[in-house]
């Protein structure tokens, strides 16, 4: 008998048929009875005091049913952390970026709503603004918030070992600075919110989210209603990529409008609003100093990173830390110091984005290439020599329970024929490598665990109730696979109620790669709970021990004597006829150091396990135009165990597109002071089908001791390694190491010209 029926198999995802037919409803597709159109008035200034807001004319416009401004709110400041509470959803005193919410209307149609916005008079007193990290830090710079002197929002300090001693003991030391401007999430689905209150004051609200429970609490706080009156509903979500986890002003505004108008309200963002007014990725300036021994092993590393956080904290402490943590997980570095600064500027708000700082990730890796070159060691060997290993403890004291990084390096190297190619390719033809690691969640206080319930029907079907959210990556399918496998049922027998805060228990949400590990484990435990209860009944009936039973194909049977079997439906009925209610419950809280805190105590077990991976990329460059043709990419990740190989491959391929093809070649926001000049699909260039190279996927499985069936994560890391590999390949092709990203053709041309000049002079 095969080990698993569904786990590890490529079963059709349960949610894609309805997406293929267009039946799946996204937030903007909702039509509620008597629904109004909501629109938001936004600040045209990067920094200004709000002197007065006059909404009288707007309120009188026929068809306008509600207008809200800050005076409709309590003016409370919200923050992801208690110590970062700095954002009002409708500001009372001043605006801090172009695009910030100032007022909103709900009207019978879009034209009326837009007209109403134009009738709202806002008097501003324009203030001087800062648009760069440098300007924000300059003495005498305008301060965005009184509570953050010098516009320093967050300062993370990590200091392990003795870095200075390490440098003196190093054979070779180099220091480089790497920069990259903002990238943008650019989810397929522009943000949208629909909200309505019922007669009893219960709020029902739909929006794309990476954690409905993370949205519900702030809504409860702002609206001053208890959590059980806030229902963040399940909805099909068009991508998150690290965003959409926090409460958004649009959520709060929509709820206020619905309350005031006593009618459902829907706000649909334009593509521009999605780019500017939700979150962006941080621009970063990363200075890295690394010392290695003669064999290329890192002895000491000192990193200082300044991140442009925009106007508010958002997930500041986390965003400031994760870029470093990913690298300290991936590579051994006994002596390491990190100073991460998140700086506030009068620009849109930055959050955590999948690649988590291409400059940071590429910087660490490309520096290994540079050091290796000086030592006569090739990039792949440099990775092998510094790779994290199973059983290690990271500098910030996370034990690494399973690590297949070396295996991913070796396998990727083999498949891409690294040895044949590196150093042997024709001019303008290069190959590069990148390695990364990603955690599976982090200490999230009371929100750090997941719980699942399973309801059984008398005909043997079940409903799994869990807070796990699906942003499109396939989490709903994962729940069904796990439940079907554990319970011995078919996927068709499993119904889901997920991501609905009225019904589903708390769950950390889908960002930071924890749904499979934490949520999946909870589902598995809940299913095992059900199984145990059913097994007790069947064991009793057959007069055997519970440990002698198995469940498969809708039957519970004696493992060594399958003829002795009972249908699961019958077992359920049996419980009921014994007047026993039967259901399942499981909860999982990762064994992490709950005292670990981003700023105050950045040490301790960060997450229970980590994934690791390698990407190798091969490119060809047109030396006249600087354009890059990507020939082939090989992506490998230690995912622990592949619950659904094709689903995982899809994550790899999407990661290569986002982190590598887009992140390294074409994606960046262009600015005019605090204004985004490239908020649309024609301005911000995401990769197209015709641009993508051949992608080889190698799934490595180390069977993590704690993940469900050994699974860890697979969604985030390939984006980072792809960025590094693209950077390495282009650098290799030209014999020039790039420090500024993305590597657009003009930069390539400049590098070629400068190199030729140096060669002529040298």
């Amino acid at each position: 008998m095969e080990k698993f029926s569904y786990i590890g198999k490529d079963v059709k995802r349960i949610d894609t048929a309805s997406k293929a037919t267009g039946e799946a409803l996204f937030a903007a597709d909702l039509a509620l009875p008597r629904m109004l159109v909501g629109k938001i008035l936004r600040s045209p200034h990067a920094h200004a005091r709000i002197v007065a807001i006059d909404t009288a004319k707007a309120e009188k416009l026929p068809g306008v049913k509600a207008v809200v401004t800050a005076k409709d709110t309590c003016g409370d400041k919200w923050g992801v952390f208690k110590y970062t509470q700095d954002q009002q959803f409708l500001p009372t005193e001043k605006v801090r970026y172009v695009g910030e919410e100032v007022a909103a209307v709900a009207a019978v149609d879009e034209d009326t709503a837009l007209e109403a916005l134009s009738l709202i008079d806002v008097a501003y007193e324009v203030l001087p603004a800062v648009y760069t990290i440098e300007d924000a830090l300059a003495p005498g710079a305008p301060q965005l918030h009184d509570v953050y002197p010098n516009n320093i929002n967050v300062h993370v300090v990590i200091d392990v070992g003795d870095v200075e001693k390490g440098f003196t003991e190093s054979y070779l030391v180099r220091e480089d600075t790497f920069t990259a401007p903002e990238d943008s999430y650019f989810q397929g689905e522009p943000y949208a919110v629909a909200a309505q209150f019922d007669h009893a004051g219960n709020l029902e609200i739909w929006m794309p989210n990476a954690g409905p429970h993370l949205k519900a609490k702030p809504l409860s706080n702002v609206l001053k209603i208890p959590l059980n009156k806030v229902r963040v509903r399940k909805i099909t979500i068009g991508g998150a990529f690290g965003g959409r986890s926090e409460i958004s002003p649009a959520d709060v505004i929509c709820a206020f409008l619905a309350k005031k108008a006593q009618r459902p309200v829907k706000i649909v963002y334009t593509r521009e609003e999605n780019t500017v007014c939700t979150r962006q990725a941080h621009a970063m300036i990363t200075k890295i100093k690394t010392g290695v021994d003669k064999e290329g092993r890192v002895v000491a590393r000192d990193i200082t990173c300044h991140m442009d956080g925009g106007a508010y904290s958002s997930t500041g402490p986390i965003a400031t830390s994760v870029p470093f943590l990913c690298m300290e997980q991936a590579y051994r570095m006994e002596n390491v110091r990190y100073n991460g600064y998140r700086i506030l500027t009068n620009k849109p708000i930055r959050g955590m984005f999948r690649t988590h700082g291409r400059g940071f990730a590429c910087g660490v890796d490309i520096q290994l290439d540079m050091l290796g070159e000086a030592l006569g060691i090739d990039p792949l060997t440099m990775r092998l020599r510094n790779a994290r290993q199973t059983g290690d403890t990271t500098p910030t004291k996370s034990y690494v329970a399973s690590c297949g990084l070396t295996e991913t390096i070796e396998k990727t190297g083999k498949m891409s024929r690294w040895e044949e190619k590196f150093g042997k390719l024709p001019p303008y033809h290069g190959i590069g490598i990148g390695c990364n690691s990603v955690q599976t969640g982090f200490p999230m206080g009371i929100r750090g665990g997941s719980q699942a319930f399973i309801k059984l029907n008398e005909d043997g079907g079940v409903t799994v109730i869990t807070g796990i959210v699906d942003n499109g990556q396939g989490n709903d399918h994962m729940i069904v696979q796990i439940a079907a496998e554990e319970l011995g049922l078919n996927p068709d027998d499993i119904q889901l109620i997920t991501a609905d805060t009225e019904v589903t228990p708390s769950d950390p949400g889908s960002y930071s790669m924890c749904e499979t590990f934490i949520g999946g484990n909870a589902v598995r435990l809940a299913a095992q709970d059900v199984k145990k209860k059913l097994f007790r009944i069947v064991a009793d009936e057959f007069g055997v021990g519970e440990e002698e039973l198995s469940a498969r194909n809708r039957k519970i049977f004696v493992t060594n004597d399958p003829q002795q079997s009972m249908s699961i439906a019958k077992a359920v009925r049996m419980a009921l006829t014994r007047n026993e209610s039967i259901s399942g419950e499981g909860s999982y809280w990762p064994k992490v150091d709950w005292k670990r805190e981003w700023v105050k105590n950045p040490y301790g077990q960060l997450s229970e396990t980590f994934s690791f991976g390698t990407v190798i990329c091969e490119v060809k460059i047109d030396p006249e135009t600087g354009q890059v043709e990507v020939l082939e990419v090989t992506a490998s990740q230690d995912v622990g165990y592949a619950l659904s190989p094709k689903v995982i491959e899809g994550q790899f391929e999407g990661g290569v597109a986002m982190g590598g093809q887009g992140g390294m070649l074409t994606e960046y926001l262009q600015w005019h002071e605090g204004r985004v000049l490239t908020p649309t699909q024609l301005g911000y260039l995401v990769p197209l089908a015709i641009d993508m190279p051949k992608i080889n996927n190698i799934i490595v499985e180390t069977i993590d001791p704690n993940g469900p069936y050994g699974a860890k994560e697979a969604g985030m890391s390939v984006a980072m390694s792809a960025a590094q590999a693209y950077c390495g390949a282009i650098s290799n092709a030209l014999g020039v190491y790039f420090h500024e990203y993305p590597i657009t053709p003009d930069k390539i041309l400049k590098a070629i010209e400068e190199k030729k000049k140096r060669e002529r002079e040298g």
Partner: protein
């Protein structure tokens, strides 16, 4: 301009006739989604770049966000809802599902219709031709690899 008047509008969508009264400045996308509640067609950019709003007009893929509803009267419009026959998926939809070519699903209706139109015109496209044909459909999730595989699988069937 208050002088803009609503006019009678008759659209033929998925072999059904819809009579309505509408302002002339409404796009086909708005009419499909807001008036006919055919929400399978999506808006992701509003400027005709991303392909999420793709519908077929007389069999050819067009950007419904750049098409005036009044301008397509008398033409046969096909949206994603018109592709499947009741509960049975069209082979293109089936291939997308079987090959894991759908993740978040927002780009899928437009992508599927574009693929459908390609195969109707060219039943045996090469990979390069497929990639070019869908180059006007932006997908942020999949990296396009499995979308191309799905369409290739249909091309082989056509052989």
């Amino acid at each position: 301009m208050k002088e803009m008047k609503k006019t009678a509008l008759t659209l033929s969508v998925n072999n059904e006739t819809y009579d309505m009264v509408s302002y002339p400045n409404r796009t086909l996308l708005e009419v499909l989604r807001d008036d006919l509640h055919l929400t399978g067609t999506k808006e992701s950019c509003g400027e005709g770049v991303c392909g999420s709003c793709t519908v077929l007009v007389n069999g050819a893929p067009v950007r419904s966000c750049l098409t005036l509803a009044v301008a397509v009267q008398g033409k046969e419009i096909t949206t994603i809802e018109g592709l499947s026959a009741g509960e049975k998926l069209h082979p293109v939809q089936e291939a997308f599902v079987n090959h894991h070519a759908i993740q978040c699903g927002f780009c899928s209706p437009g992508m599927i219709l574009t693929a459908y139109a390609l195969l109707a015109e060219n039943p045996n496209p090469t990979e390069k031709e497929i990639r070019r044909a869908i180059s006007g459909n932006v997908c942020r999730c999949t990296g396009y690899a499995k979308i191309v595989e799905a369409v290739m699988s249909l091309a082989e069937k056509g052989r």
